[in-house]
């Protein structure tokens, strides 16, 4: 017998099938058996599951080194172009969503609360800049302008409210016995307090450039945002008070009091914080001069 004949005969064995009654009965039996541990609601496959299935299917091709290299180059080139284009976008532009998404991504990859709070302050500053640009925009209808301003202001508010959340977290996480940590928290709180104060102030100023008709629409919202920023600043101020109360007791009187040194040694945000504090928040001035000791004391101890 030739191979082909054998193969044909093997194919003929397809006739061997289970009894159809058994197949049906057994189906019911099995479904009853598994019914005990099935979920209550019907299962829906999410986008993630579908993506996993597709990636799994092509995983062999996808993980070829050449393909990976191409993808990497493509993604990084395309990505950086889009990112830089998005950076200059304003509400109403198609890339503005990308800009916000990029900021969120940046936040998501930032582990520490302090850094997150600082980032959000930076984002809030971006919003103020955007607000500025929208105010200066010509050739758009007042309705569109107002809508864009509302979008920016609501993003701004989200940012400052989130900063407040971070401040509370930082306060919770600071070990009251760890002097260095407290000094550090103090610096962060000072910087945040002054920066949010500044934000509130500059956003308030910006509305003055608007025409009366434009003002009516956004004024209430801006006022609310300014209030949020001030509230955040206040929280930071409370944190300053709390940390200072703790650290003051342990700070020796010989600590160096030269603010120049502090500014030189401190990180950039700290330097800015002190300057802006001096400019915008009169009650803070005393705090700064008193608190400028802390980082130095810490540095001195470290030395």
């Amino acid at each position: 017998m030739r191979d082909q004949q054998i193969i044909n005969k093997i194919k003929a064995l397809k006739m061997i099938t289970p009894r159809s009654t058994w197949v049906a009965l057994n189906r019911d039996f099995l479904l009853r058996q598994i019914a005990a541990d099935q979920p209550a609601e019907p299962v829906r496959l999410g986008a993630r599951a579908l993506l996993r299935a597709t990636v799994g299917l092509f995983s062999r091709q996808v993980f070829q080194p050449a393909v990976v290299m191409l993808l990497l180059v493509g993604v990084s080139l395309g990505g950086s172009l889009v990112a830089s284009a998005a950076f200059y976008s304003l509400p109403g532009d198609s890339l503005y969503g990308v800009k916000i998404a990029l900021e969120k991504t940046q936040l998501a990859v930032t582990p520490s609360d302090e850094r997150k709070a600082e980032l959000k302050v930076t984002f809030a500053q971006n919003r103020v800049k955007e607000f500025n640009k929208i105010v200066a925009q010509t050739g758009v209808t007042p309705a569109v302008k107002q809508e864009r301003m509302n979008q920016v202001v609501s993003e701004f508010q989200k940012n400052v409210v989130a900063v407040e959340g971070h401040i509370n977290k930082i306060a919770e996480n600071t070990d009251p016995l760890d002097e260095q940590a407290k000094a550090h928290t103090l610096r962060i709180a000072l910087s945040l307090s002054s920066e949010t104060q500044e934000l509130a102030k500059s956003l308030g100023e910006k509305t003055s450039g608007l025409s009366e008709a434009e003002k009516v629409g956004v004024e209430a919202m801006v006022a609310q945002a300014v209030e949020s920023a001030q509230q955040t600043s206040l929280s930071a101020q409370e944190l300053v008070e709390g940390s200072r109360a703790g650290t003051e007791a342990s700070t020796s009187t010989e600590a160096i009091t030269d603010p120049e040194v502090t500014e030189g040694e401190g990180s950039q945000p700290l330097g800015e914080a002190e300057t802006s504090t001096a400019e915008f928040s009169a009650p803070l001035i005393t705090d700064v001069s008193a608190d400028a000791d802390q980082p130095d004391a810490a540095a001195g101890e470290a030395n």
Binding site: M1, I6, I10, L13, I34, D37, L50, A53, T54
Partner: protein
């Protein structure tokens, strides 16, 4: 009926999420091939039915409990079936098997005659079943998976946990053995 690869992956994901509909679909897709796979390994139709049923239950239990990533659903079902057949023979003592084989001769004859009658009525050729029951397990498996279930070499390699090369060699040898056996059957005088 053969499931596409994507369909299989989706079924796999749904099974992981304990979807009974997906299980029913998997059952419908694979009950015939799995039954046939087991059918040639066990003495009685009843055993084949019991083990087939158990294999599907095992697959469900495994998929809903394991944390491992399963690459190939079909291979998993076949492997569950294979393990159950091994357990089936392990659980039976030698005496039980001998006894069953004695009784089996009659049942087997009746079954084969019935089957042959059907086959001859349609194709007028002699069935390969008796020959397939006589050859080594792995020879029979590769032939059935390759030509009856029409699986690719890669899929068979996954199911039998062998390399593609050794699956090809096995198919070649299996065909040779079946050829020899069928030739000797055709000449009853040479039959040992």
């Amino acid at each position: 009926m053969k499931a596409s690869k994507l369909q299989e992956k989706l079924l796999l994901l749904k099974l992981k999420q304990r979807d009974p509909d997906a299980f029913a679909k998997v059952y419908d897709l694979y009950v015939d091939p799995i039954y046939r796979f087991i059918y040639f390994k066990v003495p009685r139709r009843q055993d084949a039915e019991d083990l087939t049923s158990e294999a599907f239950l095992k697959v469900w239990q495994y998929l809903t409990e394991t944390e491992e990533t399963i690459r190939n659903l079909r291979a998993l079902i076949y492997r569950c079936a294979q393990n159950l057949v091994v357990d089936f023979y392990r659980s039976k003592t030698r005496g039980e098997l001998m006894e069953e084989e004695g009784q089996l001769a009659k049942v087997e004859d009746a079954r084969q005659q019935n089957f042959l009658a059907q086959l001859e009525a349609r194709t007028a050729v002699e069935s390969l079943e008796p020959i397939l029951r006589r050859i080594k397990d792995e020879y029979r498996e590769v032939l059935l998976l390759r030509y009856l279930e029409e699986l690719s070499i890669g899929e068979i390699a996954d199911i039998l946990e062998k390399s593609k090369g050794s699956v090809r060699v096995l198919i070649h040898r299996a065909l040779k053995v079946v050829r020899e056996l069928s030739t000797s059957n055709e000449r009853p005088a040479d039959h040992q």
